[in-house]
């Protein structure tokens, strides 16, 4: 039962949530990168 819980349920559920968390981290980093570049170039332009 415990094996069933850990090896199947926890694996599947944590995979889904880890993927979504990594996706959010990637988007926030990309947003930061774009906005930083904008603010770097903004005052010169």
């Amino acid at each position: 039962m415990v094996y069933n819980f850990l090896s199947y349920f926890v694996t599947a559920v944590s995979l889904v949530f880890l993927t979504i968390i990594v996706w959010f981290i990637y988007q926030v980093r990309e947003e930061n990168r774009i906005l930083r570049r904008r603010s770097d170039i903004g005052p010169k332009g």
């Binding site: 039962m1 069933n4 819980f5 199947y8 349920f9 694996t11 599947a12 559920v13 995979l15 889904v16 949530f17 993927t19 979504i20 996706w23 959010f24 988007q27 990309e30 947003e31 774009i34 906005l35 570049r37 904008r38 170039i41």
Partner: protein, 223 residues
């Protein structure tokens, strides 16, 4: 402006996170244990909502594709691309969580039965979609072809749903028909999970559109 600087978006995300925490608690504690399947069965409370979200996303790609071809407005192209990315991410999760469930239930993670095969075909179509996006050449042409692929690819979604009825129905029963017959302690958490994942998908889609808009502006201004 940052996406989550808008209070509406941060409140939405907070609400979704709270709903997800409750969802997990309900799945682990409240839902009954199905004999013979034990914990593996509970994967379905996540697997099916993830599959629903993937297909919803591909529906958005199709609608965005039609609207792009009609209106020639690049907002619809960005919406289509964002939805295609999320749909493919969710389809990947479906293709991984399905075999995790299948291993203890069927004894093997993958069998070449209609629903699994047609889902894999949909995933492969979208691999082609992203190859076109990456290597297609002129942006206007890429957007047009991507819209057409998005519309044509959606034909596979009803085939996935009905595939079990068309071919070898003895291999796997149709979950929607079975779900209606389920008791409330299974049905209510299932629908709650479905709503939670749909709300999560909406905030993810809006966030991704925001990023794609920023990238588009960056490219236009030559930054």
């Amino acid at each position: 402006m940052r996406f989550f600087a808008d209070k509406k978006n941060s409140v939405w995300l907070g609400l979704v996170l709270l709903m997800l925490a409750i969802d997990m608690w309900v799945i682990v504690v409240y839902t009954p244990m199905v004999p013979d399947q034990h914990w593996a069965q509970k994967i379905f409370y996540v697997h099916v909502p993830v599959a629903w979200t993937a297909f919803l996303s591909y529906f958005v790609v199709m609608v965005a594709g039609i609207l792009f071809l009609v209106k020639k407005n690049y907002y619809w192209d960005r919406l289509g691309l964002a939805a295609a990315e999320l749909g493919t991410m969710y389809t990947t999760l479906v293709l991984i969580t399905g075999p995790i469930w299948a291993k203890p239930i069927w004894g093997k993670p993958w069998i070449w039965e209609p629903r699994l095969t047609t889902t894999l075909i949909l995933f492969l179509i979208y691999i082609g979609y992203f190859m076109l996006r990456e290597f297609g050449g002129h942006p206007e042409r890429v957007a047009r072809y991507a819209a057409i692929i998005g519309i044509v690819a959606f034909v596979d979604v009803p085939i996935i749903f009905l595939s079990v009825k068309f071919w070898s129905p003895e291999i796997q029963s149709h979950p929607q028909i079975e779900m209606v017959a389920q008791p409330g302690r299974i049905l209510l958490p299932f629908f709650y999970s479905l709503i939670t994942f749909t709300l999560l998908y909406i905030i993810m889609l809006r966030f991704r559109i925001h990023i794609l808009k920023l990238k588009h502006e960056e490219a236009e201004n030559g930054l």
